[in-house]
């Protein structure tokens, strides 16, 4: 009987350890992020935990072949690859009013849903604000608004920044790069470092960015209701395709690879690899970008993740988010569409 009891203890114990309840003490888990997002933004079933407000787009990536020097990824051969994408605003409230200061996101799934697809989730920021999952987690909690005042709890962010000088520095850099008038004239950056791998196995550290070909317009002025940023984007795309030049910045020895809060020096070599064109926009609904998890670790043969600890953490938390909304979307797809369409 002791052996039976012993077996049960090992069997159930190892599952409990692996699953969390016994072993997660002090360890950050995807569930902890789910709880934190719900704590800060409320529980919005069927939506993304973060960047909940967004719109689906499609288009293509016209590669000029220049990137093929650095990577064997088929998407960088001289060819056109269709893509699905999503513009979004940072934050976990899908009904939040647009603000010029909220970080703008652009997720792309180039070659979706093929076997060699490349997914990337970019922001209109010059650097990312955190260099560790713990930093992101703590900043998220510190950013919670007091429902009584509509502002952050006094002292919370100051206390966080005192312990995270990398975020304080990054916020200063962000302040020096004020947001543009809208999505169309925003520069979007991948921020994390990746490796391009060529046919001989040579690995080159790179970061990528999209530079708008639309001329910059005067700074954003909120107008025409709570969705003014998205409305402007919809009108822009209706009047013609939007284009961005894709730039691949090549890192050099000594450049910071795993720290997304540190920008590389501006004199780094840049390869212009082609043009991203967005020519269709539609309400998020079943079958379009609403149902794509822009997991930055879904990479084609020829692109690899760097040692940046944010990358596997993003992958894990995005998967937790996708899992939770995918089931719900199946149960109430009609309602979701109506809510997003407002």
């Amino acid at each position: 009987m002791a052996a039976v009891g012993g077996f049960f203890a090992v069997d159930i114990g190892s599952v409990l350890y692996a699953r969390g309840p016994l072993g997660s003490g002090g360890r950050l888990t995807p569930q902890a992020f789910v709880d934190a997002f719900r704590n800060v933004y409320g529980h919005h079933p069927g939506y993304r935990l973060n960047h909940s407000k967004g719109v689906a787009v499609t288009g293509y990536f016209d590669s000029n072949g220049a990137g093929a020097e650095l990577t064997m990824a088929t998407v960088f051969r001289q060819q056109r690859t269709p893509l699905a994408g999503r513009f979004s605003l940072a934050g976990g409230d899908p009904d939040v009013g647009d603000t010029a200061g909220a970080a703008r996101g652009l997720g792309l799934a180039i070659g979706y849903p093929g076997s060699d697809q490349w997914r990337t989730a970019m922001l209109n920021l010059p650097v990312f604000l955190d260099n560790s999952p713990q930093g992101f987690f703590d900043r998220l909690l510190a950013s919670k608004l007091d429902p009584a005042t509509g502002k952050q709890y006094p002292g919370a962010m100051e206390q966080f920044l005192a312990g995270h000088p990398e975020t304080a520095r990054a916020m200063q850099v962000v302040k020096e790069h004020p947001p543009t008038s809208g999505f169309a004239d925003s520069t979007f950056r991948g921020l994390n470092t990746f490796y391009f791998v060529d046919a001989s196995g040579e690995r080159t550290p790179v970061r990528w960015s999209l530079i708008p070909m639309q001329p910059a317009r005067p700074a954003a002025t909120p107008s025409s209701g709570p969705d003014w940023l998205f409305s402007r984007l919809i009108r822009d795309i209706r009047s013609g395709p939007l284009r961005w030049r894709m730039l691949i910045t090549v890192g050099e020895p000594g450049d910071d690879l795993p720290d997304a809060t540190i920008a590389w020096p501006p004199q780094r070599r840049v390869v212009e690899a082609g043009t991203v064109v967005i020519d269709r926009i539609e309400t998020e609904m079943a079958g379009n970008a609403r149902d794509i998890n822009f997991d930055p670790m879904v990479l084609p043969h020829g692109i690899e993740a760097s040692e940046d600890p944010l990358l596997p953490a993003r992958s894990a938390v995005y998967a937790a988010s996708f899992r939770r909304r995918a089931g719900v979307a199946g149960a109430a797809a009609e309602v979701q569409v109506d809510e997003v369409a407002q």
Partner: protein, 189 residues
């Protein structure tokens, strides 16, 4: 209770025994990696790759085991196993084989439904076996967890039953599947 002869035990064939213990190690490892993976932040992508490779080998192994099971008659159960228990034994064996064949396929279909390419060990690309559909992904993802927990329970019951027989009824149930040399073996092909 008729005491079984202590020095004669009919065993599974050597091949069946090897397959069984290989399966035990693989299934246990795959389940644990799967549970850790679902709660991992830093090693999520790495563990997912390991889990998918392990899951694929579980599937291949169980295809081989089904063929082996159909071509090799297992040794008779000891007399300590009653009629009702025999039905339970047959049912749980069928359930284990079925779920262990289904679980890797659910995982594969689930990945396919999310629109992500399924690549084993970074080199072996598998074709999608389900349409890209987030709602379907949600159902399959939940099913994958339910089957995982069911397997944990079934395996625990399977091991407990064998240990109970071996330790309390002393019918040497476990020896049918072990490799110890000391015992006379009436191997059944």
């Amino acid at each position: 209770m008729s005491a079984p002869s202590p020095d004669v035990v009919s065993r599974f064939s050597v091949g069946s025994r090897v397959l069984h213990w290989l399966a035990a190690v693989l299934v246990f490892t795959t389940l644990i990696v799967g549970f850790v993976l679902a709660n991992s932040l830093g090693s999520y992508a790495t563990l997912l790759g390991v889990h998918m490779a392990l899951g694929a080998s579980v599937f291949v192994l169980f295809v081989i085991r089904v063929v082996n099971r159909l071509t090799h008659r297992p040794p008779a159960l000891p007399a300590t196993v009653g009629r009702v228990e025999r039905l339970t034994v047959a049912g749980s064996e069928l359930a284990l084989y079925t779920l262990l064949l289904a679980q890797p396929l659910i995982g594969w279909a689930m990945q396919s439904a999310s629109g992500v390419p399924v690549v084993l060990l970074g080199v072996l690309g598998l074709p999608p076996i389900a349409p890209v559909d987030a709602a379907l992904y949600g159902v399959l993802r939940t099913g994958h967890s339910v089957v995982a927990y069911t397997l944990v329970v079934l395996i625990a019951a399977h091991v407990s039953a064998v240990l109970l027989h071996t330790l309390t009824l002393r019918d040497r149930m476990l020896s049918r599947m072990t490799f110890s040399r000391a015992e006379k073996s009436g191997t059944t092909m």
